[in-house]
Protein backbone atom coordinates (compact mmCIF):
# COMPACT_ATOMS: atom_id res chain seq x y z
CA UNK A 1 0.00 0.00 0.00
CA UNK A 2 2.78 2.37 0.88
CA UNK A 3 3.97 2.92 -2.62
CA UNK A 4 4.97 6.22 -4.06
CA UNK A 5 2.72 7.50 -6.78
CA UNK A 6 5.09 6.64 -9.55
CA UNK A 7 3.43 5.01 -12.46
CA UNK A 8 0.13 4.81 -10.64
CA UNK A 9 -2.96 6.97 -10.63
CA UNK A 10 -2.41 10.05 -12.76
CA UNK A 11 -0.40 9.47 -15.85
CA UNK A 12 -0.90 12.90 -17.20
CA UNK A 13 1.13 13.42 -20.29
CA UNK A 14 3.42 16.37 -19.97
CA UNK A 15 2.52 19.26 -22.14
CA UNK A 16 3.78 22.80 -22.23
CA UNK A 17 1.86 24.79 -19.71
CA UNK A 18 1.90 28.50 -19.12
CA UNK A 19 1.02 28.23 -15.46
CA UNK A 20 1.14 25.30 -13.07
CA UNK A 21 -1.79 26.25 -10.85
CA UNK A 22 -5.33 25.07 -11.37
CA UNK A 23 -8.65 25.91 -9.78
CA UNK A 24 -11.23 23.16 -9.41
CA UNK A 25 -14.38 25.18 -10.02
CA UNK A 26 -16.61 22.53 -8.49
CA UNK A 27 -14.77 22.80 -5.17
CA UNK A 28 -14.39 26.58 -5.18
CA UNK A 29 -16.87 28.23 -2.80
CA UNK A 30 -16.13 31.80 -3.85
CA UNK A 31 -14.07 32.68 -0.77
CA UNK A 32 -11.92 35.66 -1.75
CA UNK A 33 -8.86 34.77 0.33
CA UNK A 34 -6.91 33.77 -2.79
CA UNK A 35 -7.84 36.98 -4.60
CA UNK A 36 -6.70 39.13 -1.67
CA UNK A 37 -3.40 37.34 -1.18
CA UNK A 38 -2.36 37.26 -4.84
CA UNK A 39 0.62 39.63 -5.20
CA UNK A 40 0.08 40.31 -8.89
CA UNK A 41 -3.72 40.76 -8.78
CA UNK A 42 -4.15 37.74 -11.03
CA UNK A 43 -7.32 36.34 -9.43
CA UNK A 44 -10.93 37.41 -9.90
CA UNK A 45 -13.91 35.95 -8.11
CA UNK A 46 -17.01 36.31 -10.25
CA UNK A 47 -20.19 34.34 -9.95
CA UNK A 48 -18.82 32.85 -6.71
CA UNK A 49 -15.95 31.17 -8.54
CA UNK A 50 -12.29 32.12 -8.54
CA UNK A 51 -10.49 32.40 -11.85
CA UNK A 52 -6.82 32.97 -12.65
CA UNK A 53 -5.76 35.49 -15.29
CA UNK A 54 -2.90 33.43 -16.68
CA UNK A 55 -0.95 36.33 -18.13
CA UNK A 56 -0.66 37.83 -14.66
CA UNK A 57 0.04 34.67 -12.65
CA UNK A 58 3.62 34.17 -11.52
CA UNK A 59 2.88 30.76 -9.91
CA UNK A 60 4.05 31.83 -6.46
CA UNK A 61 1.56 29.48 -4.83
CA UNK A 62 0.24 31.97 -2.27
CA UNK A 63 -3.32 31.14 -3.33
CA UNK A 64 -2.72 27.43 -2.72
CA UNK A 65 -1.63 28.20 0.84
CA UNK A 66 -4.75 30.16 1.74
CA UNK A 67 -7.43 28.12 -0.05
CA UNK A 68 -9.61 26.50 2.62
CA UNK A 69 -11.59 24.27 0.28
CA UNK A 70 -8.41 23.04 -1.43
CA UNK A 71 -9.90 23.96 -4.76
CA UNK A 72 -6.58 25.46 -5.85
CA UNK A 73 -3.78 23.05 -6.51
CA UNK A 74 -0.52 22.67 -8.34
CA UNK A 75 -0.53 20.68 -11.54
CA UNK A 76 0.89 17.54 -9.97
CA UNK A 77 2.33 14.20 -10.92
CA UNK A 78 3.05 15.14 -14.48
CA UNK A 79 4.55 11.75 -14.47
CA UNK A 80 4.95 11.13 -18.15
CA UNK A 81 3.68 7.61 -18.28
CA UNK A 82 6.32 6.23 -15.98
CA UNK A 83 5.55 2.64 -16.89
CA UNK A 84 7.36 3.19 -20.15
CA UNK A 85 10.65 3.54 -18.28
CA UNK A 86 12.75 0.60 -17.18
CA UNK A 87 14.48 2.51 -14.43
CA UNK A 88 13.16 5.46 -12.42
CA UNK A 89 15.39 7.90 -10.56
CA UNK A 90 14.17 10.31 -7.86
CA UNK A 91 15.90 13.68 -7.60
CA UNK A 92 14.62 15.30 -4.40
CA UNK A 93 15.15 19.00 -3.81
CA UNK A 94 17.62 19.23 -0.86
CA UNK A 95 14.82 21.00 0.99
CA UNK A 96 13.30 17.55 1.53
CA UNK A 97 15.98 16.73 4.13
CA UNK A 98 14.57 19.35 6.49
CA UNK A 99 11.04 17.94 6.43
CA UNK A 100 11.44 15.13 8.94
CA UNK A 101 12.39 14.67 12.59
CA UNK A 102 15.67 15.69 14.13
CA UNK A 103 17.48 12.37 13.83
CA UNK A 104 16.34 11.64 10.29
CA UNK A 105 19.42 11.80 8.11
CA UNK A 106 19.43 12.43 4.37
CA UNK A 107 20.60 8.82 3.97
CA UNK A 108 17.47 7.48 5.65
CA UNK A 109 15.26 9.71 3.52
CA UNK A 110 16.91 8.58 0.29
CA UNK A 111 16.57 4.96 1.46
CA UNK A 112 12.86 5.48 2.11
CA UNK A 113 12.40 6.80 -1.42
CA UNK A 114 14.06 3.68 -2.78
CA UNK A 115 11.87 1.47 -0.62
CA UNK A 116 8.88 3.37 -1.92
CA UNK A 117 9.35 2.39 -5.52
CA UNK A 118 12.11 4.46 -7.04
CA UNK A 119 14.96 2.40 -8.42
CA UNK A 120 17.37 5.02 -7.21
CA UNK A 121 17.20 8.25 -5.18
CA UNK A 122 19.97 10.75 -5.90
CA UNK A 123 21.22 13.53 -3.72
CA UNK A 124 21.40 16.94 -5.41
CA UNK A 125 23.80 18.81 -3.12
CA UNK A 126 26.93 17.97 -5.12
CA UNK A 127 25.28 19.27 -8.27
CA UNK A 128 24.28 22.42 -6.35
CA UNK A 129 27.91 22.99 -5.41
CA UNK A 130 28.99 22.46 -9.01
CA UNK A 131 26.50 25.15 -10.05
CA UNK A 132 27.90 27.42 -7.33
CA UNK A 133 31.24 27.08 -9.08
CA UNK A 134 29.61 27.88 -12.41
CA UNK A 135 28.03 31.03 -10.92
CA UNK A 136 31.43 32.08 -9.54
CA UNK A 137 33.16 31.61 -12.87
CA UNK A 138 30.41 33.16 -14.96
CA UNK A 139 30.19 36.26 -12.75
CA UNK A 140 33.97 36.63 -12.92
CA UNK A 141 33.99 36.60 -16.73
CA UNK A 142 30.80 38.63 -17.24
CA UNK A 143 31.09 42.10 -18.80
CA UNK A 144 27.45 42.95 -19.55
CA UNK A 145 25.02 45.17 -17.61
CA UNK A 146 25.03 44.45 -13.90
CA UNK A 147 23.78 43.03 -11.65
CA UNK A 148 23.18 39.52 -12.89
CA UNK A 149 19.93 38.14 -11.52
CA UNK A 150 19.67 34.54 -10.34
CA UNK A 151 17.60 32.23 -12.49
CA UNK A 152 16.75 29.43 -10.07
CA UNK A 153 13.47 30.68 -8.61
CA UNK A 154 10.98 30.25 -11.45
CA UNK A 155 8.52 32.59 -9.74
CA UNK A 156 11.07 35.40 -9.70
CA UNK A 157 11.81 34.70 -13.37
CA UNK A 158 8.14 34.76 -14.20
CA UNK A 159 7.81 38.05 -12.32
CA UNK A 160 10.56 39.49 -14.52
CA UNK A 161 8.83 38.19 -17.63
CA UNK A 162 5.52 39.70 -16.58
CA UNK A 163 6.70 43.06 -15.24
CA UNK A 164 10.38 43.71 -16.00
CA UNK A 165 11.00 42.48 -19.56
CA UNK A 166 13.98 44.81 -19.90
CA UNK A 167 15.79 42.86 -17.18
CA UNK A 168 15.58 39.50 -18.95
CA UNK A 169 19.01 40.05 -20.49
CA UNK A 170 20.46 40.29 -16.98
CA UNK A 171 19.16 36.88 -15.92
CA UNK A 172 21.98 34.41 -15.29
CA UNK A 173 22.13 31.86 -18.13
CA UNK A 174 23.26 28.90 -16.03
CA UNK A 175 21.67 25.47 -15.92
CA UNK A 176 19.88 24.57 -12.69
CA UNK A 177 21.39 21.82 -10.48
CA UNK A 178 18.46 19.50 -11.16
CA UNK A 179 18.86 19.75 -14.92
CA UNK A 180 22.61 19.35 -14.67
CA UNK A 181 22.22 16.31 -12.42
CA UNK A 182 19.45 14.78 -14.56
CA UNK A 183 21.70 14.91 -17.59
CA UNK A 184 24.62 13.35 -15.71
CA UNK A 185 22.64 10.62 -14.01
CA UNK A 186 20.95 9.60 -17.24
CA UNK A 187 24.29 9.09 -18.92
CA UNK A 188 25.82 7.28 -15.96
CA UNK A 189 22.88 4.97 -15.36
CA UNK A 190 22.48 4.14 -19.04
CA UNK A 191 26.10 3.06 -19.16
CA UNK A 192 26.00 1.23 -15.85
CA UNK A 193 22.78 -0.66 -16.58
CA UNK A 194 23.31 -1.03 -20.31
CA UNK A 195 20.02 0.69 -21.00
CA UNK A 196 19.06 3.17 -23.67
CA UNK A 197 19.02 6.70 -22.27
CA UNK A 198 15.32 7.10 -22.97
CA UNK A 199 14.54 3.99 -20.89
CA UNK A 200 15.53 5.94 -17.78
CA UNK A 201 12.91 8.15 -16.17
CA UNK A 202 13.97 11.02 -13.94
CA UNK A 203 11.56 12.51 -11.42
CA UNK A 204 12.11 15.71 -9.47
CA UNK A 205 10.57 16.08 -6.02
CA UNK A 206 9.55 19.72 -5.82
CA UNK A 207 8.97 22.17 -2.96
CA UNK A 208 6.79 24.51 -5.03
CA UNK A 209 4.46 24.64 -8.04
CA UNK A 210 6.78 27.02 -9.86
CA UNK A 211 9.57 24.46 -10.18
CA UNK A 212 6.98 22.26 -11.78
CA UNK A 213 6.39 24.89 -14.41
CA UNK A 214 10.13 25.15 -14.81
CA UNK A 215 10.09 21.64 -16.16
CA UNK A 216 6.72 21.33 -17.81
CA UNK A 217 7.13 24.56 -19.71
CA UNK A 218 10.87 25.01 -19.42
CA UNK A 219 11.64 28.67 -20.05
CA UNK A 220 15.12 28.26 -21.42
CA UNK A 221 15.24 24.90 -23.07
CA UNK A 222 13.28 23.11 -25.73
CA UNK A 223 13.02 20.09 -23.51
CA UNK A 224 13.84 19.53 -19.88
CA UNK A 225 15.99 16.54 -18.93
CA UNK A 226 13.49 15.78 -16.20
CA UNK A 227 10.61 13.48 -17.09
CA UNK A 228 8.21 14.20 -14.27
CA UNK A 229 7.60 16.13 -11.08
CA UNK A 230 5.98 15.20 -7.79
CA UNK A 231 5.09 17.58 -4.97
CA UNK A 232 6.97 16.84 -1.75
CA UNK A 233 3.65 17.17 0.10
CA UNK A 234 2.30 14.30 -2.01
CA UNK A 235 5.03 11.83 -1.04
CA UNK A 236 5.55 13.03 2.52
CA UNK A 237 3.42 10.46 4.32
CA UNK A 238 4.76 7.55 2.33
CA UNK A 239 8.37 8.53 2.96
CA UNK A 240 7.60 9.00 6.65
CA UNK A 241 6.12 5.53 6.90
CA UNK A 242 9.04 3.92 5.09
CA UNK A 243 11.93 5.58 6.92
CA UNK A 244 14.41 2.84 7.83
CA UNK A 245 16.03 2.74 11.28
CA UNK A 246 19.37 3.80 9.89
CA UNK A 247 21.52 4.07 6.82
CA UNK A 248 20.56 3.47 3.31
CA UNK A 249 18.71 0.19 3.37
CA UNK A 250 20.54 -2.66 1.75
CA UNK A 251 23.29 -0.46 0.32
CA UNK A 252 24.40 0.70 3.74
CA UNK A 253 26.98 3.14 2.37
CA UNK A 254 26.87 6.85 3.21
CA UNK A 255 25.87 9.23 0.51
CA UNK A 256 28.54 11.74 -0.43
CA UNK A 257 27.08 15.19 0.06
CA UNK A 258 28.15 18.82 -0.06
CA UNK A 259 27.54 21.34 2.71
CA UNK A 260 27.99 24.16 0.21
CA UNK A 261 25.29 22.60 -1.95
CA UNK A 262 23.05 21.89 1.04
CA UNK A 263 22.84 25.62 1.72
CA UNK A 264 20.78 26.00 -1.48
CA UNK A 265 17.80 25.08 0.69
CA UNK A 266 18.00 28.44 2.43
CA UNK A 267 18.68 32.05 1.52
CA UNK A 268 22.18 32.86 0.31
CA UNK A 269 23.10 29.37 -0.81
CA UNK A 270 24.00 30.42 -4.34
CA UNK A 271 26.51 33.08 -3.42
CA UNK A 272 29.05 31.01 -1.44
CA UNK A 273 31.89 31.60 -3.88
CA UNK A 274 31.13 35.28 -4.60
CA UNK A 275 32.43 38.34 -2.81
CA UNK A 276 29.82 38.89 -0.09
CA UNK A 277 30.00 42.67 -0.40
CA UNK A 278 29.15 42.44 -4.11
CA UNK A 279 26.05 40.30 -3.94
CA UNK A 280 22.58 40.47 -2.49
CA UNK A 281 20.31 37.65 -1.38
CA UNK A 282 16.69 38.75 -1.42
CA UNK A 283 13.70 36.80 -0.16
CA UNK A 284 9.96 37.37 -0.13
CA UNK A 285 7.96 38.65 -3.04
CA UNK A 286 7.62 42.24 -1.88
CA UNK A 287 11.36 42.54 -1.38
CA UNK A 288 12.08 40.97 -4.75
CA UNK A 289 9.77 43.54 -6.36
CA UNK A 290 11.62 46.38 -4.59
CA UNK A 291 14.98 45.07 -5.74
CA UNK A 292 13.80 44.60 -9.33
CA UNK A 293 12.45 48.17 -9.32
CA UNK A 294 15.85 49.39 -8.17
CA UNK A 295 17.67 47.37 -10.82
CA UNK A 296 15.31 48.66 -13.49
CA UNK A 297 16.06 52.29 -12.73
CA UNK A 298 19.76 51.51 -12.77
CA UNK A 299 20.46 51.80 -9.06
CA UNK A 300 22.42 48.61 -8.43
CA UNK A 301 25.04 48.71 -11.16
CA UNK A 302 27.84 48.14 -8.64
CA UNK A 303 26.35 44.82 -7.50
CA UNK A 304 27.54 41.61 -9.22
CA UNK A 305 24.80 39.16 -8.42
CA UNK A 306 21.34 39.20 -6.92
CA UNK A 307 19.93 35.95 -5.62
CA UNK A 308 16.15 36.23 -5.66
CA UNK A 309 13.63 34.00 -3.91
CA UNK A 310 9.98 34.90 -3.78
CA UNK A 311 9.46 32.59 -0.76
CA UNK A 312 10.67 33.88 2.61
CA UNK A 313 14.14 32.49 3.34
CA UNK A 314 14.23 30.66 0.03
CA UNK A 315 12.97 27.24 -1.01
CA UNK A 316 12.63 26.02 2.59
CA UNK A 317 9.23 27.72 2.72
CA UNK A 318 7.90 26.48 -0.62
CA UNK A 319 4.14 26.04 -0.78
CA UNK A 320 4.29 22.28 -1.45
CA UNK A 321 6.18 21.48 1.73
CA UNK A 322 4.80 20.08 4.96
CA UNK A 323 7.03 21.14 7.85
CA UNK A 324 6.85 24.59 9.41
CA UNK A 325 9.51 26.56 7.49
CA UNK A 326 11.28 27.78 10.64
CA UNK A 327 11.59 24.25 11.98
CA UNK A 328 12.69 23.02 8.55
CA UNK A 329 15.32 25.75 8.40
CA UNK A 330 16.71 24.74 11.81
CA UNK A 331 16.98 21.12 10.62
CA UNK A 332 18.75 22.21 7.44
CA UNK A 333 21.18 24.21 9.59
CA UNK A 334 21.73 21.06 11.67
CA UNK A 335 22.58 19.03 8.56
CA UNK A 336 24.81 21.89 7.36
CA UNK A 337 26.64 21.79 10.68
CA UNK A 338 27.37 18.11 10.23
CA UNK A 339 28.44 18.42 6.61
CA UNK A 340 30.62 21.46 7.19
CA UNK A 341 31.08 24.24 4.69
CA UNK A 342 34.35 23.14 3.16
CA UNK A 343 33.99 23.11 -0.65
CA UNK A 344 34.69 19.85 -2.50
CA UNK A 345 36.85 21.69 -5.03
CA UNK A 346 39.56 24.31 -4.80
CA UNK A 347 39.22 27.54 -6.72
CA UNK A 348 41.44 26.20 -9.50
CA UNK A 349 39.46 22.98 -9.72
CA UNK A 350 36.26 24.98 -9.95
CA UNK A 351 37.61 26.97 -12.88
CA UNK A 352 38.60 23.72 -14.57
CA UNK A 353 35.18 22.23 -13.94
CA UNK A 354 33.55 25.28 -15.50
CA UNK A 355 35.73 24.97 -18.60
CA UNK A 356 35.04 21.26 -19.02
CA UNK A 357 31.26 21.20 -18.51
CA UNK A 358 28.36 22.87 -20.30
CA UNK A 359 26.84 25.04 -17.62
CA UNK A 360 25.88 27.98 -19.76
CA UNK A 361 22.51 27.65 -21.43
CA UNK A 362 20.97 29.63 -24.22
CA UNK A 363 18.34 31.91 -22.78
CA UNK A 364 14.97 31.65 -24.42
CA UNK A 365 13.16 33.79 -21.89
CA UNK A 366 10.63 36.11 -23.46
CA UNK A 367 8.48 38.88 -22.08
CA UNK A 368 5.05 37.74 -20.93
CA UNK A 369 3.38 41.10 -20.55
CA UNK A 370 -0.35 41.25 -20.27
CA UNK A 371 -1.58 42.75 -23.52
CA UNK A 372 -2.07 46.53 -23.65
CA UNK A 373 -5.54 47.98 -23.14
CA UNK A 374 -5.79 48.32 -26.89
CA UNK A 375 -3.51 47.37 -29.77
CA UNK A 376 -3.95 50.84 -31.20
CA UNK A 377 -1.94 53.33 -29.14
CA UNK A 378 -4.38 56.23 -29.56
CA UNK A 379 -7.25 54.05 -28.46
CA UNK A 380 -5.17 52.64 -25.60
CA UNK A 381 -4.53 56.18 -24.40
CA UNK A 382 -8.27 56.86 -24.60
CA UNK A 383 -8.85 53.78 -22.47
CA UNK A 384 -6.24 54.84 -19.92
CA UNK A 385 -8.13 58.13 -19.63
CA UNK A 386 -11.38 56.29 -19.10
CA UNK A 387 -9.68 53.97 -16.60
CA UNK A 388 -8.53 57.00 -14.62
CA UNK A 389 -12.04 58.52 -14.68
CA UNK A 390 -13.57 55.27 -13.47
CA UNK A 391 -10.95 54.88 -10.77
CA UNK A 392 -11.72 58.33 -9.45
CA UNK A 393 -15.45 57.61 -9.40
CA UNK A 394 -14.93 54.44 -7.35
CA UNK A 395 -14.94 54.38 -3.53
CA UNK A 396 -11.23 53.35 -3.55
CA UNK A 397 -11.50 51.34 -0.37
CA UNK A 398 -10.53 48.09 -2.12
CA UNK A 399 -13.33 46.07 -0.54
CA UNK A 400 -13.16 43.37 -3.19
CA UNK A 401 -16.90 42.76 -3.29
CA UNK A 402 -16.93 43.27 -7.06
CA UNK A 403 -14.62 40.28 -7.42
CA UNK A 404 -11.50 42.29 -8.20
CA UNK A 405 -8.79 42.73 -5.55
CA UNK A 406 -8.62 46.53 -5.75
CA UNK A 407 -10.59 49.44 -7.17
CA UNK A 408 -7.76 50.07 -9.65
CA UNK A 409 -7.85 46.46 -10.85
CA UNK A 410 -11.64 46.70 -11.13
CA UNK A 411 -11.39 49.89 -13.19
CA UNK A 412 -9.03 48.11 -15.53
CA UNK A 413 -11.39 45.14 -15.77
CA UNK A 414 -14.22 47.49 -16.72
CA UNK A 415 -12.11 49.12 -19.42
CA UNK A 416 -11.07 45.69 -20.69
CA UNK A 417 -14.77 44.79 -20.72
CA UNK A 418 -14.29 41.98 -18.27
CA UNK A 419 -16.53 43.56 -15.63
CA UNK A 420 -19.38 46.05 -15.49
CA UNK A 421 -19.38 49.23 -13.50
CA UNK A 422 -22.60 48.06 -11.83
CA UNK A 423 -20.59 45.25 -10.20
CA UNK A 424 -19.34 47.84 -7.72
CA UNK A 425 -21.62 47.26 -4.75
CA UNK A 426 -20.95 50.60 -3.10
CA UNK A 427 -21.51 52.57 -6.27
CA UNK A 428 -24.78 50.73 -6.84
CA UNK A 429 -25.83 51.39 -3.26
CA UNK A 430 -25.06 55.07 -3.62
CA UNK A 431 -27.18 55.27 -6.75
CA UNK A 432 -30.02 53.48 -5.02
CA UNK A 433 -29.84 55.92 -2.11
CA UNK A 434 -29.83 58.93 -4.36
CA UNK A 435 -32.82 57.52 -6.22
CA UNK A 436 -30.98 57.34 -9.54
CA UNK A 437 -31.72 53.66 -9.89
CA UNK A 438 -34.12 51.24 -8.39
CA UNK A 439 -33.17 47.77 -7.25
CA UNK A 440 -34.60 46.17 -10.36
CA UNK A 441 -32.55 48.43 -12.64
CA UNK A 442 -29.31 46.87 -11.54
CA UNK A 443 -28.50 44.24 -14.11
CA UNK A 444 -27.53 40.82 -12.79
CA UNK A 445 -23.84 40.18 -13.21
CA UNK A 446 -22.79 37.37 -15.44
CA UNK A 447 -22.68 34.09 -13.63
CA UNK A 448 -24.52 35.34 -10.54
CA UNK A 449 -27.65 33.42 -9.75
CA UNK A 450 -30.74 35.52 -9.48
CA UNK A 451 -33.40 34.72 -6.90
CA UNK A 452 -35.81 33.67 -9.64
CA UNK A 453 -33.50 31.15 -11.15
CA UNK A 454 -34.62 27.57 -10.88
CA UNK A 455 -38.15 28.41 -9.81
CA UNK A 456 -41.04 27.13 -11.79
CA UNK A 457 -42.94 29.90 -13.50
Amino acid sequence: MDQLPCGSAKKTMMKRESISIRIDTARCDGDMACMRVCPTEAIRVRGSKARIIESRCITCGECIRVCQTRAISAVTASFADVSRFDYVVALPSPVLYGQFGRGVTPDRILAALEKGGFDCACDLTLACEAVNAAIEQYVRRYRGPRPLISCFCPTAIRLIQVRYPELLEQVLPIESPKEFMAREIRKTKARELRLREDRIGIVYLTPCPAKMLDIVGHPSKEKSDIDGVIAISDIYRTVLSLLPISGRGEHGERTRMSGVGMSWAILGGQTTFLKPENCLAVDGLRNVVRILNDIEIGKLRDVDYVECHTCPDGCVSGSLLVENPYVARARILGILGQLGTKPCRSERERAELYESEDFVVERRLTAQLQGPLDLDVSRAIGKIRRLEEIRQSLPNINCGACGAPSCAAFAEDVVREEAQLSDCVLLALEQLRSGQTKVWDVPPAEGHSTPDEGKEP
Binding site: I297, G298, L369, S378, I384, E412
Partner: protein, 142 residues
Protein backbone atom coordinates in the same frame (compact mmCIF):
# COMPACT_ATOMS: atom_id res chain seq x y z
CA UNK B 1 2.54 71.42 -25.37
CA UNK B 2 -1.01 70.19 -25.09
CA UNK B 3 -2.89 67.88 -27.35
CA UNK B 4 -6.41 66.61 -27.57
CA UNK B 5 -6.55 62.90 -26.94
CA UNK B 6 -3.57 62.95 -24.63
CA UNK B 7 -3.58 61.37 -21.19
CA UNK B 8 -2.56 63.62 -18.32
CA UNK B 9 -1.95 62.92 -14.71
CA UNK B 10 -0.24 64.80 -11.92
CA UNK B 11 1.75 63.24 -9.11
CA UNK B 12 2.84 64.94 -5.90
CA UNK B 13 6.36 64.47 -4.58
CA UNK B 14 7.44 65.51 -1.08
CA UNK B 15 10.90 66.73 -0.21
CA UNK B 16 12.89 64.38 2.05
CA UNK B 17 10.38 61.58 1.52
CA UNK B 18 13.07 59.01 0.73
CA UNK B 19 10.82 56.12 1.69
CA UNK B 20 8.36 56.75 -1.13
CA UNK B 21 10.93 57.89 -3.66
CA UNK B 22 10.46 55.87 -6.82
CA UNK B 23 6.70 55.39 -6.52
CA UNK B 24 5.87 57.99 -9.15
CA UNK B 25 8.27 56.41 -11.60
CA UNK B 26 6.75 52.96 -10.92
CA UNK B 27 3.22 54.28 -11.49
CA UNK B 28 4.23 55.96 -14.73
CA UNK B 29 5.88 52.74 -15.85
CA UNK B 30 2.68 50.78 -15.21
CA UNK B 31 0.64 53.28 -17.22
CA UNK B 32 3.06 53.01 -20.16
CA UNK B 33 2.90 49.21 -20.02
CA UNK B 34 -0.91 49.31 -20.10
CA UNK B 35 -0.73 51.47 -23.19
CA UNK B 36 1.67 49.03 -24.81
CA UNK B 37 4.76 51.23 -25.08
CA UNK B 38 7.91 49.27 -26.05
CA UNK B 39 9.90 47.88 -23.13
CA UNK B 40 13.11 49.79 -23.91
CA UNK B 41 11.19 53.08 -24.02
CA UNK B 42 9.40 52.24 -20.78
CA UNK B 43 12.74 51.75 -19.08
CA UNK B 44 14.13 55.05 -20.39
CA UNK B 45 11.09 56.92 -19.08
CA UNK B 46 11.28 55.07 -15.74
CA UNK B 47 14.91 56.05 -15.26
CA UNK B 48 14.38 59.69 -16.28
CA UNK B 49 11.27 59.98 -14.09
CA UNK B 50 13.05 58.42 -11.15
CA UNK B 51 16.02 60.78 -11.35
CA UNK B 52 13.74 63.80 -11.63
CA UNK B 53 11.68 62.56 -8.70
CA UNK B 54 14.85 62.02 -6.65
CA UNK B 55 15.99 65.56 -7.31
CA UNK B 56 12.78 66.84 -5.73
CA UNK B 57 13.13 64.47 -2.77
CA UNK B 58 16.74 65.46 -2.17
CA UNK B 59 16.71 69.21 -2.67
CA UNK B 60 13.19 70.69 -2.74
CA UNK B 61 10.34 71.18 -0.27
CA UNK B 62 7.79 69.73 -2.60
CA UNK B 63 7.13 69.25 -6.27
CA UNK B 64 4.78 67.87 -8.90
CA UNK B 65 5.34 65.55 -11.80
CA UNK B 66 2.91 66.18 -14.66
CA UNK B 67 2.70 63.27 -17.05
CA UNK B 68 1.38 63.80 -20.54
CA UNK B 69 1.10 60.83 -22.81
CA UNK B 70 0.32 61.02 -26.53
CA UNK B 71 0.58 58.35 -29.23
CA UNK B 72 3.98 59.79 -30.16
CA UNK B 73 5.69 60.69 -26.91
CA UNK B 74 5.82 60.95 -23.14
CA UNK B 75 6.21 64.42 -21.72
CA UNK B 76 7.13 64.97 -18.08
CA UNK B 77 7.07 68.36 -16.45
CA UNK B 78 8.65 68.33 -13.01
CA UNK B 79 8.17 71.55 -11.04
CA UNK B 80 9.50 72.06 -7.56
CA UNK B 81 9.67 74.63 -4.83
CA UNK B 82 13.27 74.54 -3.79
CA UNK B 83 16.65 76.23 -3.86
CA UNK B 84 16.90 76.20 -7.65
CA UNK B 85 20.02 75.43 -9.63
CA UNK B 86 22.65 78.16 -9.68
CA UNK B 87 24.59 77.00 -12.71
CA UNK B 88 22.66 74.62 -14.94
CA UNK B 89 25.60 73.93 -17.24
CA UNK B 90 27.70 72.85 -14.28
CA UNK B 91 24.87 70.70 -12.91
CA UNK B 92 24.68 68.87 -16.22
CA UNK B 93 28.25 67.62 -15.85
CA UNK B 94 28.70 64.03 -14.73
CA UNK B 95 29.91 63.80 -11.19
CA UNK B 96 28.95 67.34 -10.21
CA UNK B 97 26.73 67.38 -7.16
CA UNK B 98 25.68 69.67 -4.35
CA UNK B 99 24.47 66.76 -2.26
CA UNK B 100 25.28 66.85 1.42
CA UNK B 101 27.60 64.36 3.11
CA UNK B 102 24.60 62.57 4.61
CA UNK B 103 22.98 62.09 1.19
CA UNK B 104 26.20 60.69 -0.21
CA UNK B 105 26.49 58.30 2.69
CA UNK B 106 23.06 56.98 1.70
CA UNK B 107 24.37 56.37 -1.80
CA UNK B 108 22.74 59.38 -3.42
CA UNK B 109 24.23 62.49 -4.93
CA UNK B 110 26.74 60.89 -7.27
CA UNK B 111 26.19 63.75 -9.67
CA UNK B 112 24.56 61.48 -12.23
CA UNK B 113 20.94 62.64 -11.92
CA UNK B 114 20.65 65.24 -14.67
CA UNK B 115 23.18 63.53 -16.99
CA UNK B 116 21.14 60.34 -16.59
CA UNK B 117 17.95 62.15 -17.53
CA UNK B 118 19.71 63.58 -20.56
CA UNK B 119 20.91 60.12 -21.58
CA UNK B 120 17.44 58.63 -21.30
CA UNK B 121 15.41 61.35 -22.97
CA UNK B 122 15.10 62.98 -26.38
CA UNK B 123 14.64 66.48 -25.06
CA UNK B 124 15.55 68.04 -21.75
CA UNK B 125 14.88 71.66 -20.84
CA UNK B 126 15.68 73.10 -17.43
CA UNK B 127 14.48 76.45 -16.11
CA UNK B 128 15.52 77.48 -12.68
CA UNK B 129 15.39 80.53 -10.46
CA UNK B 130 17.67 80.50 -7.46
CA UNK B 131 15.66 80.54 -4.25
CA UNK B 132 12.35 79.86 -6.03
CA UNK B 133 12.48 76.51 -7.72
CA UNK B 134 13.24 74.43 -10.75
CA UNK B 135 11.24 73.31 -13.75
CA UNK B 136 12.51 70.27 -15.62
CA UNK B 137 10.88 69.36 -18.89
CA UNK B 138 11.58 65.87 -20.24
CA UNK B 139 10.44 64.35 -23.49
CA UNK B 140 10.82 60.75 -24.61
CA UNK B 141 9.62 59.92 -28.11
CA UNK B 142 8.38 56.48 -29.13
Amino acid sequence: MTEEGAFRRNFEVLGEDFYNAGRVSTEIKEILQQVGVAATTVRRVAIAAYEAEMNVVMYARRGTVCLELTPELVHLLVRDEGPGIEDIELAMQEGYSTATERMREMGFGAGMGLPNIQKNSDRLVIHSTAGVGTEVEIEVRF
